[in-house]
Symmetry: C2
Subunit: 171 residues, 2 copies
DNA sequence: CGACTTTTTGAAGTCCGTCAACCAGTGTGG
DNA sequence: CCACACTGGTTGACGGACTTCAAAAAGTCG
């Protein structure tokens, strides 16, 4: 198993349900984490940009909870950590805990029940804080992630653009 | 600082922004975690029942991210863990990681975008799986947690009750 | 019994999802 | 080069789900 992976757009890193081995860290590009719902439809759980982990969500499971797919061409580095080795490395565990709770914190921001436009605004702001690449995902993917229709994302971004106080909007 | 705390209904365990010291474990009753939004309104982030942790969300922070308040009379046990001691205890960290990801997994279920009735059903089912006490929180609190109006919760529960295939509904 | 909170119901308006169409950009084959 | 297909973005129209507002009913506690 090579340490470094290069993925072309659309290419899968791993699929939901396959055995979990080790997490990856993104060094370039952007990936999406995808969950298949009971009814067969897919939801985008999260996006990952350089400096962030992929696969950590399944750390204490046998199999991956999500699928991971590249949106743009991406490079990743497979970490050597596994459950056995890390059980003796408290510093590592501490770092994992920090990463995971940061992730949980982020997902807590765009609350359901807030107006769509607020959720879109929060999403864009968050993404900008994490990376300076222009939004690489489609409106449909944003919609899937935020739990709203693609058209609603488009309309929200339009009014945000019109409201814009001079700062340029993404893409 | 006593190890065991008994809280009356409405009583606060700690407030958002106060220094984090150690997590608690609930041994009886039920608590709510509350986040104050930028606009001043409050949202119920989560409920905690016996066997679950309170405060763990702020593990790697200086101050509490949420407030915690008792809904019914509750007893809690303060854990002796702190960041310094645990950095040398990988087994503990591993367990914390597991707790935290289980929590993240639960919060991932009632996706925004699903119809209100489905979210209410999922919430009730989840709560039943965690404890056998009848729903101790008000409809308004459920609504705040799920991001919908109190009235919507009431109506959803009514239709669920009518649909009921014989099994009794909560409360 | 009142004062209070919580639950429930009704009515009206709004936000958003769905459907449908069109546009712009890109790639492909003749 | 152009017709064509295809993907992603955008816009409009419409209906339904949900929020909001208002008020009554039901439970709680002094």
């Amino acid at each position: 198993m090579q340490r470094v992976r290069v993925l072309e757009p659309e290419e899968m890193l791993f699929r939901e349900g396959t055995p979990f081995q080790a997490p990856f860290i993104v060094t370039s590009g952007c990936l999406e984490l995808i969950l298949t719902m009971p009814d067969g439809r897919e939801r985008v759980v999260a996006f990952r940009v350089p400096g962030e982990m992929v696969g950590l969500e399944s750390w204490n499971r046998d199999v991956h909870r999500y699928s991971a797919r590249a949106i743009t061409q991406s490079t990743l580095c497979r970490l050597r950590w596994n459950k056995a080795s890390s059980r003796r490395n408290a510093a590592l565990m501490s770092s994992l805990l920090a990463k995971m709770s940061a992730d949980a914190e982020r997902n807590g921001i765009p609350w359901p029940g807030l107006p769509a436009i607020e959720r879109v605004r929060a999403f864009i702001e968050d993404f900008r804080n994490r990376t300076d690449q222009p939004l690489p995902m489609t409106r449909a993917q944003i919609g899937s992630h935020l739990g709203m229709a693609e058209e609603t994302v488009v309309r929200a971004m339009k009014t945000l653009r019109l409201r814009g106080t001079g700062r340029a909007m993404p893409d």
